[in-house]
């Protein structure tokens, strides 16, 4: 170390020693900078990785821009579709729900099967084959299985997989494992968390599937890729007109494609986090650099005078102090960069559990690293420049004289502190704050910000909990939802409700609709729900099911907001299946739904509007826990069942997802908030100690005990912390509100609820941090050399 120092100029040697002497403070600041840098790297890097990976994947595997489902349309239409202006490529295909029968697994797994063109790669939505091959044309029993489902069940190439497609059972040979750009987030319809065990996707050859589902020479979905830069709306319009005679509920773009919607929502959330958090850290870091450097300059007044007397120029002095800040910045950048990359990789690993890309590597592009460097330089430089300038501007003759004692006589607001009931130590605490209100204010703001960050991030747990409880405990209380291949008569519902293990059952009818109000138009799912529904229904503000008045609609809030409607309005409703009636219906109520969105109507009313008799699309069931396996077995072989979803499993999955990914993120951010608190509090106390060392030593000499002196040392930060707690609570509430607004998407809405325990926990973290920082600094009081301190004049 010593030989290394010798290589440096004397001024740089001083710098290294100064830094070493202030290592605790320097490290605390570096950690705050590191917090900002790593959050920035994680969010910006992850954002980059995810966006770039998605772009490359979609591009390379020709992800569709438009999906156009129909009931059944002749193959010949494919040529017409390809001729639409703006269409680069189009495929027609067959897509059907299916049920798997996995040996040894009680629960019925469901999924979908999608056709692949015979003898060639599809020109839209190509598969990323991980293993094996595509089905051979003419080979009836071959299927490619989505990798997640294959992995969940240990399916290997050559294994047999049993599936029921449209009531017909097929034994399929697994010939390949693949990923698909359409199924990055592989999720069952109506679910929010993927379950690779219970939901799978397979691909079969067009011929084979066409036969199985009776769609020979026909298709039930067209997928379209647009010319680069071409607008989707006119193409959707043309498609709708072209396909209208074939029972098309309406084509839709990527925004309504479920997998991409989830990926987009994740990307949106990352960018929100990246916008909010790093600036907080870096503002705090800038302030800390400023106070610590100002203090250093004040302590080194005489040295600065001496340097100048020896002929060092103003800019040498300034550069010296800027270097000091710069070294702290470099340390913070290094720590933050390493932590950011490490955490980013960890996070990318977590993502790959849920988002299935062929590859997802955490690689921020150089622009992100440069940006991290730039904002660090900005924060540290901004914080340092004023203090360094002050040092540079000191006049040598004045600098070498001791500074005059701080003048408290002309400080505004001093009158307040003359209050006679105060004891002198408390008066000293109060006057320091009144004398340097900016500093006290920032300490307060820093601690409050840290508290706000804690409340803001812990809020997510509260919101998620509220979401789960609202969705699963109030809105969807069924254990199992069975959906039929196509609408069936009421008797089918009665059959299902008589299956073994069913304790209660409730029918539902679900239809695709287009809602219009003025120029606004939205696609939505309309649920027909029986009067007095107790299992699955929309929940009003009172937590009770909303009763739908005869002929009226209940609309979810997000849908109402997009359409600009409220209760009492009449809206145009076009049901895009069956007879395709176009109606005008009154909106009876608008309710907040946390997960999903849609429109609800009384089942009988809907049946009447559809003119279809008492038809149902499926049933919600409450199952006897002891007999649930028998129910599952019965459902697997029940005719006309297209899909089965298990709510209780979904709730478990949701909670697991929360614990896993949210858990990591929340503890991470709690740690970061703690870093800010430590940085602010430790530095604040440490500076108080160094500024007032003389006073504290005098007090000890005057016979004040260590506890009494500690009170003066820590009273200020204690007082500021106590004020900062409610301020932080308030700020945190605002931050949570912002998160609730910014992070809600079409897929889910974060409810704005903060549990009192969240405030309590945040307060506890801050208080413990304050206490620890205080104790660390206080330990120095015990080692005060009273004699030495008093000998020196300031």
């Amino acid at each position: 170390m010593t030989w290394l120092l010798r290589l440096l100029s004397p001024l740089d040697r001083k710098l290294v020693r100064d830094l070493w002497a202030m290592k605790g403070q320097a490290l605390a600041i570096a950690c705050v900078i590191a917090g900002g840098v790593s959050v920035f790297l994680i969010s910006a890097g992850m954002l980059d990785s995810l966006t770039e990976t998605r772009r490359a994947y979609y591009e390379r595997y020709r992800f569709a821009d438009i999906w156009a489902p129909v009931v059944r349309a002749p193959d010949a239409l494919a040529a017409d579709i390809r001729r639409i202006e703006g269409v680069q490529a189009a495929e027609t295909r067959i897509r059907a729900p299916l049920l798997f029968d996995i040996p040894g697994m009680a629960e019925p797994a469901s999924g979908e099967v999608i056709s692949l063109p015979d003898g060639r790669e599809p020109s839209v939505n190509q598969l990323y084959l991980m293993d094996g091959r595509l089905p051979r044309p003419g080979q009836r029993g071959e299927a490619v299985v989505i990798d997640s489902f294959a992995a969940a069940h240990g399916l290997e190439i050559g294994d047999t997989l049993s599936a029921t497609i449209r009531g017909g059972r097929s034994d399929l040979t697994v010939v390949g494992r693949a990923l698909s750009p359409e199924h990055v987030y592989t999720i069952a319809p109506g679910q929010i968390v993927p379950d690779p065990r219970l939901y799978g996707v397979i691909w079969m050859s067009r011929d084979a599937l066409g036969e199985a589902v009776d769609q020979d020479g026909a298709f039930n979905e067209a997928v379209v890729r647009l010319m680069p830069g071409h607008d989707a709306a006119p193409v959707i319009d043309r498609l709708d007109r072209l396909l209208d005679p074939y029972g098309a509920p309406g084509a839709y773009g990527r925004a309504d494609q479920i997998s991409d919607a989830f990926v987009s929502s994740e990307i949106e959330q990352l960018s929100t986090m990246g916008r909010i958090l790093p600036p907080i850290f870096l503002a705090v870091a800038a302030f800390l650099v400023n106070v610590v450097l100002s203090r250093l300059v004040a302590t080194e007044r005489a040295e600065i005078g001496l340097m100048k007397a020896f002929g060092y120029r103003d800019r040498d002095v300034m550069a010296h102090y800027l270097k000091f800040a710069g070294l702290i910045g470099v340390l913070g950048l290094g720590l933050g960069g390493a932590a950011g990359i490490w955490l980013g990789r960890l996070m990318a690993g977590l993502y790959t559990d849920y988002y299935h890309f062929p590859f997802l590597v955490f690689t921020a592009n150089p622009r992100v690293y440069l940006l991290a460097l730039a904002i660090t330089v900005l924060a540290v430089g901004g914080g340092a420049i004023l203090a360094a300038r002050r040092a540079a501007l000191l006049h040598p003759a004045i600098a070498m004289q001791p500074p005059p004692p701080p003048d408290y006589s002309r400080t505004a607001g001093m009158g307040l502190t003359r209050w006679s009931l105060l004891d002198q130590p408390s008066r000293m605490i109060l006057r320091r704050m009144v004398r340097w209100p900016g500093r006290a204010g920032f300490t307060l703001a820093g601690v409050a910000m840290s508290g706000a960050l804690l409340v803001g991030t812990l809020y997510f747990t509260d919101a998620m909990e509220a979401m789960v409880s609202s969705y699963f405990d109030q809105s969807n209380r069924q254990d199992v939802t069975v959906s039929f291949v196509e609408p069936r008569q009421r008797s089918a519902f009665h059959e299902v409700s008589r299956l073994p293990g069913v304790l209660a059952a409730e029918p539902f009818r679900s239809v695709a609709v287009r809602l219009r109000y003025g120029p606004a138009e939205e696609r939505a799912a309309m649920m027909g729900v029986p009067r007095g529904a107790a299992l699955s229904r929309m929940i009003g503000a009172d937590g009770q099911g909303v009763e739908t008045p005869p002929g009226g609609l209940v609309v979810s809030r997000d849908l109402a907001e997009t359409l600009g409607i409220e209760a009492g309005d009449r809206i145009a409703v076009e049901i895009t299946e069956g007879r395709r009636p176009e109606l005008e219906l009154p909106v009876a109520a608008v309710v907040t739904t946390l997960i999903g969105s849609g429109v609800q109507m009384e089942l009988g009313d809907l049946n009447a509007l559809m003119g279809e008799g008492a038809a149902v699309s499926g049933a919600h069931l409450v199952a006897d826990a002891d007999a649930v396996d028998r129910l599952y077995t019965a459902l697997k072989s029940a005719p006309g069942v297209a899909g089965v979803s298990l709510q209780s499993v979904a709730e478990r999955n949701f909670r697991a997802l929360m614990d896993e990914s949210m858990g990591v993120a929340i503890w991470l951010y709690t740690g970061f908030a703690g870093l800010i608190a430590i940085g602010v509090i430790y530095n604040s106390v440490r500076i108080s100690l160094s500024e007032s060392a003389h006073e504290f030593a005098t007090l000890r000499v005057l016979g004040f005990t260590r506890a009494e002196v500690s009170y003066i040392l820590l009273g200020e930060i204690g007082f500021l912390t106590l004020i900062a707690l409610p301020a932080g609570g308030l700020l945190g509430t605002g931050l949570a509100w912002y998160f609730a607004e910014a992070m809600s998407s079409d897929l889910f809405r974060l409810p704005f609820v903060i549990h009192p325990a969240t405030y309590g926990f945040a307060a506890a973290v801050i208080l413990v941090t304050t206490a620890l920082s205080g104790l660390i600094v206080r330990a120095r009081l015990d080692h005060f050399d009273l004699v030495a301190v008093l000998k020196a004049r300031e």
Binding site: D423, Q424, L702
Partner: protein, 243 residues
């Protein structure tokens, strides 16, 4: 009680035997005190003279409970300071000792009155701050902050702060060191008056041999030992002093 009476009382205010203080160790060891034996009677005003590094400040600090001896004994009345814990020494300073320093060491955030109250609040039977400041002639400057007071005034506030608790001993390390001579004399007058009216044993360290004339007793230090102890037959009034 005159000093003469006090000398006849059995227990001295301070008693040291073989008092030694060594800073550092081995080759770097500095012997600040090399076996000092001293008896200081109650109520006297004692002036300690001697060149820098002769050990007088070290002695003052040990007597004041700020520093611990390396060897030997120190007694304040019947309490052995050399065997006292840190807590006991803090309590000792709080109850019995008033300090006056060369650089005043006032709290810049407190007014003159409040600086004195700082001490009276934790003392057992203090005088009022106004009374203490009156004794040093600062009754008109009660609500001024240190930054608004001259050096001499600040030092008199420091004296008022030291005496307000009615200390048994008053320890002054170069109290006039930072002052011009006229101001210094005012400060010495204040010290003399306090010594007489409160009967506090007063030790004053000074570089200024002239000050010795106002003492009951003058102790000269050299090289960590007591060189000479003499008592003044006639004590000069501070106003007669000059430097």
């Amino acid at each position: 009680m005159t000093p003469a009476d006090r000398q006849t009382s059995t227990t001295p205010c301070f008693r040291t035997r073989g008092l030694t203080k060594v800073y550092g160790s081995g080759e770097n060891a500095v012997h600040a005190l090399r076996g000092v034996d001293l008896d200081l009677p109650e109520g006297e005003l004692v002036v300690l003279l001697g060149p820098s590094g002769s050990g007088k400040s070290t002695l003052l600090n040990i007597l004041g409970g700020l520093d611990a001896a390396s060897d030997g004994e120190v007694w304040f009345r019947d309490q052995e300071l050399s065997a006292a814990s840190q807590t006991a020494l803090t309590l000792y300073r709080r109850r019995h000792v008033g300090f006056v320093f060369q650089f005043y060491n006032l709290m810049p955030s407190l007014t003159a009155r409040e600086n004195v109250q700082l001490v009276t609040e934790i003392a057992d039977r203090p005088m009022t701050a106004e009374e203490a400041l009156g004794m040093v002639g600062l009754e008109k400057r009660l609500d001024h902050f240190p930054a608004q007071l001259s050096g001499g005034e600040q030092q008199r506030v420091a004296i008022a702060r030291a005496i307000a608790k009615r200390p048994s001993v008053l320890l002054c390390d170069e109290p006039t060191g930072a002052l011009d001579s006229a101001t210094g004399i005012r400060v010495l007058q204040a010290l003399k008056q306090v010594n007489e009216s409160l009967g506090a044993t007063t030790l004053v360290i000074t570089h200024n041999a002239g000050v010795a004339a106002m003492a009951h007793r003058v102790i000269t230090f050299s090289d960590g030992r007591i060189g000479e102890v003499r008592t003044n037959e006639r004590r000069a009034d501070p106003s007669e002093l000059s430097w």
